[in-house]
Amino acid sequence: MSENGVRLLPLDDDSWRLEAYLRRGGYEAARKALTSMAPKDVVAEVCQAVIRGRGGAGFPAGMKWSFVPQGGAGPRYLCVNADEGEPGTFKDRLVLRRAPHALLEGMVITAFAVGIRTAFIYVRGEYALVSGRLEEAVAEARSAGYLGPRVLGTDFGLDVIVHHGAGAYICGEETALLESLEGRRGQPRVKPPFPASVGLFRSPTVINNVETLAAIPQILAHGAGWFLGRGVAKDGGTRLFGVSGAVRRPGIYELAVGTPLRQVIEVHAGGPPEGRSIKAVVPGGLSAPVLKADEIDVPMDFDSLARSGSMLGSAGIIVIPDGTPMLDVLHVTARFYAHESCGKCTPCRIGTSWILKAVRRLRRSGGSPADLDLILRLAEGIRGRTLCPFGDGAAMPIRAIVTKFRDELERAVAR
């Protein structure tokens, strides 16, 4: 996005270096916050900007911070959710590789605002090599005084520890992430208490996504009004839209929140390759219910997509071309959730696998429309019945595929 000249993701090759980041005015927003603002004013500014969680849940970041109890002597923690694993999502990878200092600066501002002195970055295990630059950036920032005991020469100190997961999608769920970070199986916790009051090591904890934190400096640098103005009324800023699947130019596009989905696909990503057309689109990572080709004239913001029966999620757009058997899409989807269910809640543990078994049977030996009803019934048995949002994340896309492509699926299973 070139309007206003502000980009989260710079294009130059050395952008990830501290020197390059400083050339672009890096760490000035942190300096402003640390030297001229009170923590509560930082929280207020971020609240006003309405920056909604870029990990997928869309919870306003400022509000999340404000839930951390004031005062109290014990430690509090910041956890950066870099457990990017939602299929079709690859934006945080780019932030880690191209703008790690934007993330670190966002962390400094956040930690200052909430009174945090220790931060963990939970990077998915599969990104071990990807995060090499992040670890270098942390070292650079520490030796240059942007992290460490006296950030920017002030009394404020922040330690940053990069922590690697080991292969579990569920650890992107915030309480599972905390469990994992504490050295346990990544299984979601019962809420309440919420992490803001009882989180990492039983202390108040803020958990934010990489992209969310990396965008925080913009808010401080340019003001909440400016930031909110780039998005829509209740959803400020730009998003890193990832486009994959059947498009000419797959990649990450930094665009205003609210940019129409069709425009992201057709204008920015170049639309489907020559001779192909769009059959369906998954608009926000695999958990977002699929949209049919005639449903993609929708603004890419949280509320608009919710109204269209899907969700913005991680803004990872997967374009499914004509000719793709939806039974295959159903299979890939079912397999993913069965593979990644942590196994804690009964409906999800057994339901996701039962759905997969049913889909496999349909692919193997055909079946009847009644089997599709069974799959819908099983999905309903999971939806809203689990501890964490994974259950909904599994049930909703399954339901959308079966209901929206019922005719095709019936023909396929009856063959």
């Binding site: 196994g343 804690k344 809640c345 009964t346 409906p347 339901g351 049913a358």
Partner: protein, 500 residues
């Protein structure tokens, strides 16, 4: 709890008061509304994984697990709406889809939550046509416990219990998703003194005890409350037995002892020593009167007791104090101890009243006390100053009455035999066989605590009255009857009169 603020809420139309911080499930239970659940256990950390206990809370879009949702002022909760019933049915359908349905050979049948809930909340036809997972069905996990992973519903009660209660944490959940399974690490089995509770708390037949497997069916068992006599704690237990005693060879009467809830004493748990106490009730028991170690045909209780009374009478009043020795024990109930006190001390004026009990073990810091008798405090309350007799104190007696087989635990058998040989009349009142049997003129088979009613006072001073849990065999009598009978024969007022 009483210091906590109380809040008012509505559960199924009932106005309910509950302390702040109480779960909806508990508040409902207190109001008589039972919410089905697998993973919730009042003594264990909340896990919220089974999803069986979901309820509808007005104003909330989703069903909430009542085990973790707390009461709040003005909450309106519904526990059996269509939506809730559907959710329960679905949970049951999911669990049953991966369940072996081997109820006919499952030891939990008849007391299995999955089975019970299916009857009450499920009753749907199976929609599962896909094959279920095959898993290990007979995994020995230590202490005679067998894990059947096909039956397991992953409620993790066992895992949480071991981490919280004995703190030994031998079990864990391995793998994830549908492949999740409970297990031990390599060759490090469950090995702690509370392992048997795993069978009690497993809501299904996943953890069973070798000692009980395939021995009987739950519905054949009569369950009677009693108090465990194996240490000073006095844990609440349930004695589970079949009627029809006496049994044929190899048959059992008491099939198991399980933990019974008593917040004041043992919470929900009992130790393995107490659980293994089922053997104490049925094994090594005396069932018939014996003379010189052999049963005597035609010997009646009346005659035998008359022999005791006669022996006592041979000692003239003034010499009784030194000439008659009695050894009692701390397994006697308060009522029996009071009778003994009246008979032996007040009535006969004896001074040689001793006590012999099981040797103390070591306390485990949890329930098991060092003291291995159930009524030590009762002994003191009855006014006795219990002490073991020295060998020569017994040897000097003309008549010796010994209650319980425990003397032989403290005195060397050979020396004991030699000392006994010099005593003109000696009688043993014991429930169990032991080295003293052959030394006594007559052995009287007496009842074990589970066969009696009475009162025990535990180490903390908690007084517990219990009723007879199992009937003793025909030839077996409780000490209370023996003491009363003796008093009668000696024409002493059992109510505490003087010697005539």
């Amino acid at each position: 709890m009483s210091g906590l603020k109380r809040v008012g809420l509505t559960i199924d139309g009932l106005k309910v008061q509950a302390a702040e911080g109480t779960s909806i499930l508990k508040a409902a239970e207190q109001a008589g509304v039972v919410i089905p659940h697998f993973c919730y256990h009042p003594a264990l950390e909340i896990e919220g994984n089974c999803r069986m206990c979901v309820v509808e809370i007005e104003g909330l879009p989703k069903l909430e697990p009542s085990c973790s949702a707390l009461v709040r002022e003005g909450l309106v909760v519904r526990t059996s709406t269509e939506r809730v019933r559907e959710a329960r049915k679905d949970v049951l359908a999911f669990l049953l889809a991966e369940h072996p349905l081997d109820c006919p050979i499952c030891d939990k049948a008849g007391e299995c939550r999955l089975q019970d809930y299916y009857d009450r909340h499920g009753l749907t036809a199976s929609r599962m046509v896909e094959p279920r997972e095959r898993r290990e069905k007979k995994l020995a996990i230590g202490r005679g416990l067998i894990l059947d992973r096909e039956r397991c519903v992953l409620c993790t009660r066992c895992v949480r219990f071991l981490r919280q209660m004995p703190g030994t944490g031998e079990l864990g959940v391995f793998e994830r998703g549908l492949r999740s399974e409970v297990g031990i690490f390599e060759d490090a089995p469950v090995d702690n003194g509370y392992s048997g509770n795993l069978v009690d708390i497993c809501p299904v037949g996943a953890i069973t005890a070798e000692d009980f497997r395939f021995k009987t069916r739950a519905w054949f068992l009569a369950r009677k409350p009693s108090v465990c006599p194996h240490c000073g704690r006095g844990c609440a237990v349930t004695v589970e037995s079949v009627s029809g005693y006496p049994l044929a060879k190899g048959e059992r009467r008491v099939y198991r002892i399980t933990a019974r809830e008593n917040p004041a004493v043992n919470g929900f748990w009992i130790c393995d020593l107490g659980r293994d106490g089922r053997r104490d009730i049925d094994e090594g028991r005396h069932a018939r009167l014996m003379k010189a170690g052999v049963p005597v045909a035609g010997l009646s209780w009346q005659t035998a007791l008359a022999d005791v009374a006669a022996a006592i009478r041979t000692v003239p009043g003034p010499e009784r104090s030194a000439g008659i020795a009695v050894v009692l024990n701390g397994r006697l109930t308060c009522e029996e101890l009071a009778l003994a006190k009246r008979l032996f001390v007040a009535g006969l004026g004896l001074s040689k009243v001793y006590f012999a009990d099981r040797k103390p073990g070591s306390a485990d810091g949890l329930l098991l006390t060092a003291e291995r008798l159930p009524n030590g405090r009762g002994v003191l309350e009855a006014g006795f100053a219990p002490r073991l007799p020295a060998l020569d104190e017994i040897a000097a007696a003309d008549v010796l009455l010994v209650f319980g087989p425990y003397l032989s635990e403290h005195l060397a058998e050979e020396a004991l035999a030699k000392a006994w040989a010099g005593i003109p009349s000696k009688f043993l009142f014991s429930a169990h066989e032991g080295p003293l049997d052959r030394l006594a003129d007559i052995v009287f088979p007496v009842a074990v605590p589970a066969e009696k009613s009475g009162t025990y006072i535990n180490v903390d001073g908690t007084r517990q009255t219990f009723a007879q849990a199992v009937k003793p065999a025909a030839g077996v009598a409780a000490e209370s009857a023996i003491l009363a009978g003796l008093a009668n024969l000696l024409a002493l007022d059992a109510g505490g009169g003087d010697a005539r």
